[in-house]
């Protein structure tokens, strides 16, 4: 029984709870047990079993009185440690937030609890969401529940992707029915692809950023990781909405995303951008992408060849804009108000020693790059030029929407790799996000759908990108893509 509870989708679990097949308490307990037995994955930075059972019992009591808060009522989920959760350790994977226990709740998690979701714990992540492999976490790497069946990575622990690596691993390993992450340049979609789960980044402004520990404020956006597109639609519906506490959150009604999943994409125009065909891209990625085209075409969509000329500049633009914003956002870690403090001889010495001890190498690199590109004499050449190129990238997409409704690309240029690889060369690590960063720069919604396995038996994802606030069109297409791909493989964990 308990094993079966772990294999459900959110949609199935919700129906079973409504039918009284099992209680929210039993569902939560099964997942808490799974969390405990999967500690070897290092997917969680904090476990909250007591809170989970209290929340589950409340859901059961509501149902006993004939009430329900909706499709997430009683559904156990995991929360990336970037979200502030009241009374629960929130570290952003950083040593500098040692012991930080927020006295407030992020808007997105508050929305989820108001919808009846049950918190299992906080998930491991790259420090301050800066990474693509979950290897920069102060709490050690999270391990991908998938293992290679052949090739160079056989027998090695693989990365889950990043930065929302713990959330993706938890959903893939059947520890949580769903999880939330954040995506700045691909941090939901790329781990989704590496772990064989759906990763959804909504339009910038769809979800409130209030209470989400800031990395790059013009890019950060919360979203769900789930085992199906429909589950992602359900979670996004609960997470999204206007929040007066975030001036960039959009005051627009939240659609019922699940009703958009009609299975009908006849006449939909699917753009395939020439510039995403990169030199050195593995043949199996190219093949899967072509397969994705064929699937959508057979479902009645029209394939349109498009051009996004500034694609190759998106990643270097990101590595100016994101570090610049990070250098500013991370100025708040001063050893005075929260977290780690290393006492120095004077105020400046205290700042410098605290930040030297509290930040890991990748965070230091990015804060320093950001400081440099914003510094006097370099601002125009780097930061201002990057902001102009960002306009160019957004305009590329704007032109594309004249001729297509949704864009299809691969999610990542490879399958998951072994822990320890690409560690010596920051730029090699950055290239993981080459296909996800352009949509981030333009603030567009995008989703990764597990679509096949590599020759070595590891999951690969396809990405769909939609126009701003066209999540419904994008999700409808993703649902059809998911059905056609019929991805049923499970990790060996």
């Amino acid at each position: 029984m308990a094993g079966e509870l772990l294999q459900l989708t959110i949609t199935q679990a919700g129906a079973a709870l409504a039918a009284g097949d099992f209680s929210a308490h039993e569902l939560a307990q099964a997942h808490l047990d799974a969390m405990e037995s999967a500690r070897g994955l290092n997917a969680f930075t904090a476990e909250t079993p007591e809170r989970a059972l209290t929340m589950a019992d409340a859901a059961d009591q509501r149902r006993a009185q004939g009430e329900t808060l909706g499709p997430l009522d009683g559904i156990p989920i995991a929360v990336k440690d970037l979200f502030c959760t009241e009374g629960v350790l929130s570290t952003a994977g950083s040593h500098i937030l040692d012991g930080f226990t927020p006295t407030y709740e992020s808007t997105v998690t508050r929305n989820l609890w108001a919808a009846g979701a049950v918190m299992l714990g906080k998930t491991n992540m790259d420090e301050f969401a800066m990474g693509s492999a979950n290897v920069t976490s102060h709490y050690g790497p999270c391990i991908n529940p998938w293992q290679a069946s052949s090739g160079d990575s056989v027998g090695k622990d693989l990365v889950p992707g990043g930065s929302s690596g713990g959330s993706a691993a938890a959903v893939a390993a059947r520890i949580a029915l769903g999880a939330i992450g954040t995506d700045t340049g691909g941090s939901i979609r790329q781990p989704g692809a590496f772990c064989g789960v759906v990763g959804l980044k909504p339009t910038y402004g769809r979800c409130s950023r209030w209470g989400v520990i800031a990395f790059a404020s013009s890019l950060d956006q919360a979203g769900p990781l789930t085992r199906t597109v429909r589950d992602g639609a359900l979670m996004l519906g609960a997470m999204a909405g206007h929040d007066p506490m975030d001036s960039t959150s959009v005051d627009a009604p939240v659609p019922d995303y699940a009703t958009a999943l009609t299975g009908d994409i006849k006449g939909m125009r699917i753009g395939v951008p020439a510039e995403y065909r990169m030199d050195g891209m593995p043949g199996e990625i190219e093949t899967l992408w072509r397969q994705g085209r064929d699937w959508l075409e057979h479902a009645g969509a029209a394939i349109v060849d498009i051009s996004l000329p500034h694609t190759k500049y998106a990643l270097p633009t990101y590595y100016i804009v994101a570090p610049a914003e990070a250098s500013s956002n991370l100025a708040r870690y001063d050893g005075v108000r929260y977290g780690l403090r290393v006492d120095g001889e004077d105020m400046t010495d205290t700042y410098e020693k605290t930040r030297a001890a509290g930040f890991g190498p990748e965070v230091k690199r990015r804060v320093m790059i950001g400081t440099y590109v914003l510094s006097a004499g370099y601002y125009d050449a780097y930061y201002l030029q990057a902001q102009k190129v960002r306009t160019r990238i957004a305009n590329d997409f704007r032109a594309a929407w004249e001729v297509c409704d949704v864009i299809l690309t691969p999610t990542a240029p490879s399958a998951a790799f072994a822990i320890g690889e690409k560690m010596d060369d920051p730029i090699a690590m950055y290239l993981n996000d080459i296909f996800t960063v352009p949509a981030s720069m333009a603030g567009l919604p995008a989703i990764s759908v597990p679509a096949g396995l590599s020759a070595d038996g590891l999951p690969l994802g396809l990405q769909l990108i939609g126009p701003a606030f066209a999540e419904e069109t994008m999700l409808r297409t993703a649902d059809v893509l998911e059905s056609a791909a019929g991805f049923t493989a499970k990790p060996s964990w």
């Binding site: 005051d251 500049y313 930040r355 440099y372």
Partner: protein
């Protein structure tokens, strides 16, 4: 542009991150690689292009200018590494 150790020392100072002297040179190499790579943006024609300041086309809303928050000093101080008499503490800054 290659960053020399003096530049790295200056940036580290601006960023308030202590970098030991022996780490300056390897860090200069790492940062130079990244800066060298992002410099490809210089080749993009951006004449007449406005820099992006907002990724979504919305006008930030106005709200009433009223006090609607505050009055919870203990919660604000709850996570401080050190406090005294309801204040944050810092090392002595005036001799």
């Amino acid at each position: 542009m290659a960053l020399d150790t003096d530049t790295v020392r200056r940036i580290a100072r601006l960023a308030r991150i202590y970098i030991p002297e022996e780490d300056l040179e390897p860090l200069a190499g790492e940062l130079s690689n990244i800066i060298g790579w992002v410099e490809q943006l210089a080749e993009v024609d951006t004449d007449g292009v406005e820099p992006m300041t907002s990724v979504v086309e919305i006008t930030p809303e106005q709200r009433e200018d009223v006090v609607n928050d505050g009055g919870y000093r203990d919660r604000v101080l709850a996570n401080a590494p050190d406090t005294a008499d309801g204040f944050f503490t810092v090392p002595k800054v005036i001799e």
